[in-house]
Each structure stands twice: as structure tokens, then as C-alpha cells.
């Protein structure tokens, strides 16, 4: 099942399947790319940012950014 990164729940894991074109360059340097496994760590309330683990790195992305990243959920 696919969903937006912004819709993932705590502790859920998935593999990135699509990133909006305009964003690719910006997140590439942080190791976020199609095919990468991500794990949701927390979501902040009131449209706050999400915090995800990418390999050993913990990265926080604003909600608008997280909405542009599509993830295939690990079942």
C-alpha cells in the first residue's frame, strides 16, 4: 500500500517510491531518494514537522515537504 510520508503513523516503515520533481535535489543530499527505506519516528501536532529515520540519520521534514514524498508501506 502506498501513502504520503506525511500520512505515515508512528513506528511505521516504508520504502520511498516517488518524490516530487522540484524536491528531489533538495532532499537528495540528506539521503532521501527513491528506493530508500524510511521509518517514522514522530509527528508533531498542529501541522508540525515529521521526524524520520533514514539509515542512521534522523531527519525532520516540514509537513509540506513530507506531503510530496510517496512511500510504499512495509506490510
Amino acid at each position: 500500500m502506498e501513502k504520503k510520508l506525511s500520512e505515515m503513523k508512528y513506528e511505521e516503515e516504508g520504502i520511498v517510491t516517488d518524490i516530487e520533481e522540484t524536491l528531489r535535489k533538495k532532499v537528495a543530499g540528506m539521503g532521501i531518494r527513491v528506493g530508500k527505506r524510511l521509518k517514522m519516528i514522530t509527528k508533531q501536532p498542529v501541522k508540525g514537522p515529521v521526524v524520520v529515520a533514514v539509515d542512521e540519520a534522523i531527519t525532520s521534514l516540514g509537513l509540506d515537504v513530507a506531503e510530496k514524498i510517496i512511500v510504499e508501506m512495509k506490510s
Partner: protein, 175 residues
């Protein structure tokens, strides 16, 4: 010789800079501590070399002003050698930046810093093989204790421009 310390934010570049030049730039555990470059002098084999502490950047497409300073610094110093500092526990994205810099033809040595943290996390890196594939000297370092720093500076002399085609070939081709 002109040497630039480049790498992602918060990987230990300023610690290297202070150790190598005896300077006193700020080191902190958050990305974006260094927002402007600082120059200093170090000795390599008895010779003076200029070393620059560059703000951290995730890629060569700058997203904020500190990163702009970093990329501008690289482009203004076409004849510089680069010490690319990589957090060994986040090696993949570190190599991303290293490749970008190599693609522009800069001679490079790679410091796999925070080696202690990588060991704690049970991450094993085959340095010889990495060196063979990339064609650039790779040294494991722990900047805060000074481990590997001497070796790293000595390797600077071996740094030379690399053809990306060679890296691709050594890695077994692209898909």
C-alpha cells in the same frame, strides 16, 4: 597548497580545523554552527598550506546562505584540494557530496570521521575496497581524539583528480 575542509553540516570539520591550525573556531553539536569560512595555516611535511574551514553543505545545490558560502568557496578555489569529511555512520549520503565534488574535478582525500560512533553502531566499512573503487585516499578518523588526522594530511599529497568513469567501472557499472 590550498586545502578546503568540506562536508555535511555537523560532521566535525571545525574540530579538524582547530586541530590542524591551532585556531579556535566554534564547535557545536548542531548543523549550521559554522556559517562563514575561516582561513588558517597548517604544516604538511614541513611545508605551509592554507586550510579553510568551510560551512557544512548537504550538496552543491545550496539551500540556504551558509551553504551558498560553502559552494562559492569551492568554486572560487579551482586549484584547491579538498578534505571531504564524512560521518562514517552516515556514509552513503556523505559519498553523495564527495561524488559531486569529484565530478567537478577536485583532488580529494576522504576522512571517515566519527569512526568511534560507527564502531559503536556496529557499522563495518571496508576502507581498502572503498579506496580502490573511488580512487582517492580514505582514512578513518576520530577528530575529537585526533586519531587519523596525521595520516590524513600526509595523504593529501597523493590526492589527484579522478575520472567518474573510472569510479563507475570500479564499482561494476551503472544499472
Amino acid at each position: 597548497m590550498n586545502v578546503l575542509l568540506m562536508g555535511h553540516p555537523n560532521v566535525g570539520k571545525s574540530v579538524f580545523f582547530n586541530r590542524l591550525t591551532g585556531a579556535n573556531v566554534t564547535e557545536s553539536n548542531y548543523p549550521g554552527t559554522t556559517v562563514d569560512f575561516t582561513k588558517g595555516w597548517m604544516k604538511i611535511d614541513g611545508e605551509d598550506a592554507e586550510l579553510v574551514d568551510v560551512p557544512g553543505t548537504f550538496s552543491l545545490d545550496p539551500k540556504d546562505k551558509a551553504e551558498e558560502v560553502a559552494v562559492a568557496m569551492l568554486h572560487e578555489n579551482k586549484d584547491a584540494k579538498v578534505i571531504c569529511v564524512i560521518d562514517a555512520s552516515k556514509i552513503e549520503r556523505g559519498v553523495y557530496l564527495a561524488l559531486e565534488i569529484l565530478e567537478e574535478g577536485y583532488p580529494m582525500v576522504i576522512a571517515l570521521n566519527m569512526w568511534d560512533a560507527a564502531v559503536d553502531k556496529n557499522i563495518l566499512i571496508d576502507i581498502n575496497n572503498l579506496q580502490r573503487i573511488l580512487g582517492v585516499p580514505v582514512v578513518s578518523t576520530v577528530a575529537i581524539s585526533g586519531e587519523g588526522i596525521k595520516e590524513l594530511t600526509l595523504k593529501l599529497k597523493e590526492a589527484k583528480p579522478i575520472k567518474i568513469e573510472d569510479i563507475v567501472k570500479n564499482a561494476g557499472g551503472l544499472t
